[in-house]
Amino acid sequence: MSRAVRLLRYGASGLLIELPSSAGVAAAYRTLRAAAADGRLPGIVELVPAARTVLVEAAAGARAPVDLVRGLISEDPAGQPGEGADPDSGARPTEVVIPVHYDGADLELVARTAELSVVEVIELHSSAEYTVAFCGFSPGFGYLIGLPEPLRQARLADSRPSVPAGSVGLGGEFTGVYPRSSPGGWRLLGHTDEVMFDPAANPPAKLAPGDRVRFKPVD
């Protein structure tokens, strides 16, 4: 993919912003969230970041929000190289600490693949600072970026039919927590007792895009 920001049609009322990097996505999402909070994105019903794109969707029947987005996100890569939005805009990120029991079924596999000891894997995973790039897969499932290089490992060859709620795992460039029991193909490092998604809570999801996350080892 190119370095430029691209605006792609997404149906009659949606617009997909393609950015050159996950950092660009984070910056564009922050800019758009801040604009929505200030009432500068009238009629927008969804703002959804993903790995390299952000979806902006207007109410059904409305026109795609191209003009609103053009005013906020620079399409000129020379203006803001690789970012497409002001990285300092928006509110300060929320910081979340998640206590983890590092007792996962794939801990030794991850250590072997990384050519590290289990203790070193735990140290590495719990010393990094992560950012929630986006949510998806199931409610409250955050895809966290910032994984140290040795821990960027392939998904399991075969998905497990059922991964318990609270499982902490990694897959590709991401790490994260399964909010509820579901099928899953990530390598499991451990589990947390935290409730990651509670529809009755406010906010319902413990993690939202842009949040900063740390994992803290507990016995």
Binding site: L8, Y10, G11, V48, F134, S138, P139
Partner: protein, 294 residues
């Protein structure tokens, strides 16, 4: 809003869920929109009984529902035409039909026959179904496990208070779902991943597959061919919305519906507009579908 008004579902048929207009605005935390698959049909049912558009009703798959009114209430059934009867629980039944207001006295039953065409009926009751909300909606989302469980035989469902708007006494026309459904699809965002996407879509008739559900309509037919430059490539996860036509490596498209997840990993060749999704919600397996590129 608590009242002692209620209905009891005596027979729920193959699948009955509680539904409204869903949970918009929460896709960024992974919450699907969900809600009625045929939104216009739910709105119409609500209007017939004098409810606001977004009140919760029942989405009934293939018919076969029977309920008993526990208090006087007004009901209406929309979607494809479906036989309906009112009775007192005994042998004597009176045909009342769909697409019109039906007044039930406490103790009276409403029974739906089997759909000859289409898939989903919508039943609204005056006052709406007053089950607890979850994330701003009373809709059952089977994929994400949000909202009430699917309706089971014997479930008693509370009704809200009746508003000021009168029920609409005149029947409205019902249209029979066609054997060939043509819907527009607005190309993009990833139409460039495919060889001549407009031409390929214009020339193909798809068949609705049996694995279709509230998450997506699975279409079978001559596969869409990936452009050589994208062959074997993986797309980083992208947001997906109801109406998105996602094309996995098999080339067999899936049109996402209300309970679809909020992100997906295959290219979306085009998006079916909201106004056409109701027609797809009524397309039963075997129905022919044409995606008309725009």
């Amino acid at each position: 809003m608590a009242t002692d008004r209620a209905i009891t579902v005596l027979r729920s048929g193959p699948l009955t869920v509680i539904t409204d207009l869903g949970r918009p605005g929460q896709a960024h935390i992974g919450v699907p929109r969900s809600g009625a698959l045929d939104r216009d049909a739910l709105r119409l049912a609500n209007r017939l009984v004098g409810n606001p558009d977004g009140y919760a009703g029942l989405e009934v798959l293939l018919g076969g529902l029977e309920l008993r009114a526990e208090s006087n209430c007004t009901v209406a059934v929309t979607g494809p035409p479906v036989p309906a009867w009112r009775h007192g629980g005994g042998a004597e039944r009176r045909a009342v039909g769909s697409h019109q207001v039906v007044y039930l006295r406490a103790g009276e039953h409403l029974e739906l026959g089997v759909l000859d065409a289409g898939l989903r009926s919508y039943l609204a009751c005056s006052g709406g179904l007053d089950v607890p909300e979850e994330l701003g909606s009373r809709s059952t989302d089977l994929l994400s496990g949000l909202g009430p469980a699917k309706v089971s035989d014997g479930d008693r469902l509370a009704l809200g208070a009746v508003g000021d708007a009168p029920a609409d006494a005149s029947p409205v026309p019902a249209s029979v779902p066609p054997a060939l459904v043509t819907v527009p699809v607005l190309l993009g965002p990833r139409d460039d991943w495919f060889v001549d996407p407009a031409g390929a879509l214009r020339g193909r008739v798809w068949t609705v597959g049996p694995a279709s559900n509230r998450i997506g309509l699975r279409l079978a037919g001559e596969p869409l061919e990936r452009a050589a430059e994208w062959d074997g490539q993986e797309l980083p996860s992208e947001p997906v919305r109801p109406g998105a036509v996602q094309v996995p490596p098999s080339g067999q498209p899936v049109v996402f519906l209300a309970d679809a997840p909020t992100t997906g990993g295959y290219p979306v060749v085009g998006v079916v507009p909201e106004s056409a999704l109701g027609a797809l919600a009524q397309a039963r397996p075997g129905t022919k579908v044409r995606l008309s590129p725009r």
